[in-house]
């Protein structure tokens, strides 16, 4: 009996179906691979076939930085120099006060500057790539800051390779930061809330005691509790009351200090064990104060 289909066509159809099912199976496997293996595959692709595109964005970010107005940079440098000069005695005063109050020494952190790349592909929301990695001392969990007028919290490092890192910004649903008002009077927890559309994400200051009232415009910073984010990094400004929960807590909307989509140049804060040892050694010998160097220093922990 004659077949309705041409035998070679039928064979090709079966082969096609088998190949299609194999790749469907592989795609399903890729979805459930351990996250470490997924990271390796992603890193491999970014470092090979996709490298030219990542480098293109790196080059554009560099060009944008180089195009910064030199006069504006000079003005910023002058402002910083005046702040440093006017606060030169604070370090010594602070050290004496801490001694009087018997407070522990702050562990210093090191700021590493990095360029931010953001792919505009599907599923890449809330993540950014950095051009610094473990070679520069970046570790998973290090906080990432950015200055837009004032310095603010961008997010946290999630994965690190030798020459690159992946971070998640504050719009990621799992982001949490222990926070306080800038005057240190009221403590709460900051978490993101998805907007109706991408770009409409906002921050919510949660767990505020019911009897505390925050005025619009109040600056909210990290509290240093939990040990992930250094104390005092601005997160956002209070926009208004979101909700009261009975007689025990309330929530406030925050306007983020840093709009993550605009980030091109950031600072990664890392603790430096070698520097901590050096500081301990110096302070043990009566020579207090964190050592200077090419990299900036910042307080860490609270």
């Amino acid at each position: 009996m004659a077949s309705y289909t041409d035998p070679p066509e039928e064979g090709r159809g079966r082969r096609d179906l088998t190949v299609a099912l194999v790749f469907l199976f592989l795609a399903a496997v890729a979805l459930y691979l351990p996250s470490g293996v997924q990271s390796q595959i992603a890193e491999g692709l970014r470092g090979t076939v996709l490298r030219p595109f990542v480098e293109t964005q790196e080059a554009l970010v560099q060009a944008k930085l180089r195009a910064e107005d030199a006069l504006e940079l000079q003005a910023q440098l002058d402002s910083l120099a005046s702040i440093v000069a006017s606060q030169a005695s604070l370090l010594e005063e602070n050290r004496r006060l801490r001694e009087h109050l018997d407070l522990e020494n702050r562990a210093p952190g090191v700021f590493i500057h990095a360029n931010v790349m953001r792919p505009g592909t599907t599923g890449s929301g809330s993540m950014f790539l950095l051009d610094v990695g473990s070679d520069q001392g970046v570790n998973p969990g290090d906080p990432v800051l950015m200055r837009t007028g004032r310095i603010g919290l961008v997010g946290v490092i999630r994965e690190v390779s030798r020459e690159g890192a992946i971070g998640l910004d504050w719009s990621h649903p799992d982001f949490r930061a222990s926070a306080m008002t800038a005057d240190g009077e009221v403590f709460g927890l900051v978490e993101p809330r998805r907007g109706d559309f991408r770009g409409g994400d906002r921050l919510l200051l949660n767990a505020i005691p019911f009897h505390e009232r925050l005025d619009p415009g109040t600056l909210v910073t990290t509290s240093g509790l939990g040990g992930i984010f250094p104390r005092g990094i601005p997160i956002g400004e209070v926009m208004g009351l979101h909700q009261d929960y009975g007689d025990y807590r309330s929530e406030y909307w925050l306007r983020p200090v840093v709009e993550t989509g605009s980030a091109t140049h950031v600072l990664v804060v890392r603790s430096d064990p070698a520097l901590e040892d050096l500081l301990e050694f110096l302070e043990g010998g009566g020579e207090g104060g964190p050592p200077g160097g090419g990299q900036g220093e910042g307080g860490r922990g609270g």
Partner: protein, 159 residues
Amino acid sequence: MTRKTVLGILVPILVILHFFLHVGLRIERAAPDLLTLALLFAARENGMGPGGALGFFFGLLEDAFSVLAFGASALAMTLVGILGARTRDLFVGDSLRFFFVYFLAGKLLREVIYWVVAGETVREPFLNAVLIDGGIAAFYVASMGALLVLLLGGARALR
């Protein structure tokens, strides 16, 4: 030039252009999803096997920038590649309108599958992510696809 040769040149160009616009120039929704468009062009020309394979590799390339839903694009693109290849057996379209609907449905299907697979932590509400954002993106892809079909000598050239 044969249709296979035209698509053999067009598909890699679309893939490179997609990553150049989205990754190199950091353009998000303002640039169309040329990767899905390339897949839909290639899948209809080839069988289910090559369609699925191409979809898998294209999806993995997108997943390389997705920490939170790795594999979701690979699965979505593989399915779109397979189903796109099947349309050649099911629909013998030769009109520009057919190609427009084919690209529109292909992109929308990709968005739906991605939304289902990506998981709750990543996805936005269905109405916004798929129907509004996805619908606009699908219309954008379909328009670009139809324009390309026209530029390549009309729908008959790619039938």
